[in-house]
Amino acid sequence: MIENVFLIIIGIAIIMCLLRMMLGPTTPDRAVALDTASTIITALLVLLGFMFKRDIYLDVALVYGILTFIGTVIIARYLEGGI
C-alpha cells in the first residue's frame, strides 16, 4: 500500500532529473543529473526487490552501483581532458 506512494515519489524525482538532463545548458549539468538519477535508480531497485519479494534485485543494485560509479568517474576525467 504505502510502497506505491514511495514508487510514485521516486518516479517524479527521476522525471525531474531527466528534465534537467534535457535542458541543462552545459555538459557538466547533464553529467550531474545523470549521476543523481543513477543513485536514485539504485535505491529504486532495492525497493522493487522488496515489493516483488525477489532478493536477486539486491545483486542487480550492487552491480549497477559499481558500474555507474566507474562511468561517472570516467566522464569526469574525459571532461577534464585526461583521456
Binding site: I10, A13, I40, T42, L58, F69, L79, E80
Partner: protein, 110 residues
C-alpha cells in the same frame, strides 16, 4: 516493521528533495551540492530501511548502502573538479571564489 517503513519514507523524501534541487538551482556547483548530499543520505536511508523491514536481507543491503556512502562523494568531487577546470562560470549571486588562489595540490600560490 514500522520502524523500517518510517526510515524508508524519510529516505524517499530526501531523494525527492535532491531531485528538486537538481531541477531548480541556478548553477552547476549548487546542483552538485543538492544532488550529492540529499541523494546520498536518501539512498542510504531507503536501502537500510528495506534491510530493516526484511531482516534476512540486512547485511547485503548494508553493503550496498556503505558502497553508495563511499562512492557518491568521490564521483561528485571528480565532476566538480572537472567543471572548475574547464571554466564553467559561477552564477550571478555568488559572493566569493577562492579557486584561483590555490594551485593544483591545494597549496597557496604566492
Amino acid at each position: 516493521m514500522w520502524v523500517g517503513f518510517i526510515v524508508t519514507g524519510v529516505g524517499v523524501i530526501f531523494l525527492f528533495l535532491g531531485a528538486l534541487g537538481i531541477l531548480r538551482l541556478p548553477d552547476v556547483y549548487n546542483r552538485l551540492q543538492a544532488g550529492t548530499k540529499c541523494t546520498t543520505l536518501g539512498a542510504f536511508f531507503t536501502i537500510v530501511g528495506v534491510g530493516i523491514i526484511e531482516p534476512g536481507w540486512f547485511w547485503k543491503a548494508l553493503l550496498i548502502a556503505m558502497f553508495i556512502l563511499i562512492s557518491s562523494p568521490i564521483s561528485s568531487h571528480a565532476l566538480g573538479r572537472a567543471s572548475c577546470k574547464i571554466g564553467i562560470p559561477l552564477c550571478k549571486q555568488s559572493v566569493v571564489d577562492k579557486s584561483k588562489e590555490f594551485d593544483e595540490c591545494g597549496r597557496k600560490e604566492k
